[in-house]
């Protein structure tokens, strides 16, 4: 009735839709970074939406199943094997008791997801099973998985079935240059006009400092408009008086190496926010890896809402098709 971790990979955590509603008291949401891959995984195995699954990065885990179940691998493009036979990804697969899921070398993307019929049953913490490793809460004992961990299956299976498959056209490709939409603001006025244009013209390279907290990029230097700093902002021109940071917001400490804050990030502080990545495009960011490139494509608020509406409509359509 469980999955046993034989090898955890690099950093594999239990994640769900996230711990929503506590941002105002300083609690980031956590949850699957690639929300699309996570939701489709649940739909493939016939789970209730919101059942917890596993998120890995770069190196897939090796997992043993102690009873017959149905699984689906989504997200990054990576070869997956059950007992050494390759299995299709973006498709639900029956796995027998005692079988072992393992992964080969990542081909594209960064984060594979594993959905299991019923979900992973760890205690709910403030309404979520998502792991927030920085403070050690949620998920499995508040941490990334280790060899020997045993995760019980949950009871959120609605209609587990093998052989459900996502249409090829709906499987995201993971180009080595990702394009994400950026809603410019709140403090974009702090950059010179040239620098703001440079920010959206540059293909930024993902540095090795790219994890669930945030992604740090390299590629250009940006200049701030000189000013006399207001009370409380400190002397660094990259600083403003403290404010809340939207998830997905972009800041540039020192004018070099912009950072996009993700689901495990600090919720507020004093760096100027140049813009915010549209929520559904964090899925794309989550599938870029160190050495990949990212372009930030500016949109206005209507454009941002349209991107979100279209992407969520596509997810709904895929979920309905898989449920029928």
């Amino acid at each position: 009735m469980s999955v046993i971790v034989r090898d955890p990979g690099l950093e594999t955590t239990v994640q769900d839709t996230g711990r929503l509603g506590y941002y105002s008291i300083g609690f980031p949401p956590s949850g699957a970074l690639d929300s699309f891959a996570y939701h489709v995984g649940n739909a493939l195995v016939g789970n209730e939406p919101g059942a917890a699954g596993l998120e890995a990065v770069y190196l897939g885990p090796t997992l043993e199943f102690t009873q017959d179940t149905v699984i689906a691998v989504t997200g990054a493009d990576i070869p997956a094997f059950v007992d050494d036979a390759e299995i299709p990804t973006w498709e639900s697969v029956a796995v027998p008791a005692g079988s072992v899921l393992s992964f080969g070398q990542l081909r594209a993307g960064a984060r594979p997801y594993v959905a299991v019929a019923g979900g992973i049953d760890v205690p709910l913490y403030y309404g979520s099973r998502s792991t927030y490793t920085l403070v050690g809460i949620g998920g499995f004992q508040g941490r990334a998985l280790r060899a020997g961990d045993e995760l019980p299956f949950g009871s959120l299976a609605r209609d587990p079935r093998a052989g459900r498959r996502v249409d090829d056209a709906d499987i995201p490709s993971h180009p080595s240059t990702a394009e994400v939409h950026l809603l410019v603001g709140l403090h974009s006025y702090r950059l010179t006009e040239d620098s703001l244009a440079r920010f959206t013209d540059t293909e930024w390279k993902v540095t090795p400092d790219a994890n669930r907290v945030g992604y740090r990029f390299r590629g250009a230097e940006l200049e701030f408009v000189p000013r006399e700093q207001p009370f409380g902002a400190g002397s660094d021109p990259a600083n403003v008086t403290d404010c809340g940071y939207p998830v997905g917001s972009v800041q540039v400490p020192g004018g070099v190496e912009p950072i996009v804050l993700l689901q495990d990030a600090v919720t507020g502080g004093g760096y100027a926010t140049l813009g915010t990545v549209v929520s559904v495009d964090r899925d794309r960011l989550a599938q870029t890896k160190t050495g990949d490139r990212t372009r930030f494509v500016p949109v206005d608020l209507d454009g941002a809402l349209e991107v979100r509406r279209d992407r969520l409509a596509a997810l709904d359509r895929i979920r309905s098709a898989l449920a029928s």
Binding site: L10, E11, V57, Y58, L59, Q105, L106, P208, D209, A210, N211, K289, T290, G291
Partner: protein, 80 residues
């Protein structure tokens, strides 16, 4: 003698030694057994050991200490 290349399984920064003031894991001419650690790749502030996936003699390092590497990039060449 055949040559074999040990590749990186993750992107990140390659290190020849376990810490800045330690000796390198291996040097050119050293013999390694399968499973021996030959370097480290740092990514996401975690360190992942690079293990030899064959036995042999180290003939060359194909990346410098602290170079950024990609998945599948050749790191160390062995004569097997």
């Amino acid at each position: 003698m055949a040559s074999h290349k040990i590749t990186s399984r993750t992107p990140g920064v390659f290190y020849h030694r376990p810490s800045p003031d330690a000796d390198p894991y291996v040097t050119t001419g050293a013999s390694v057994a399968e499973g021996d650690t030959v370097g480290l790749v740092e990514v996401m502030k975690t360190f992942h050991e690079v293990k030899a996936d064959a036995a042999g003699t180290v003939s060359a390092f194909l990346v410098e200490n602290e170079d950024e590497v990609t998945i599948g990039q050749d790191l160390v060449e062995l004569e097997t």
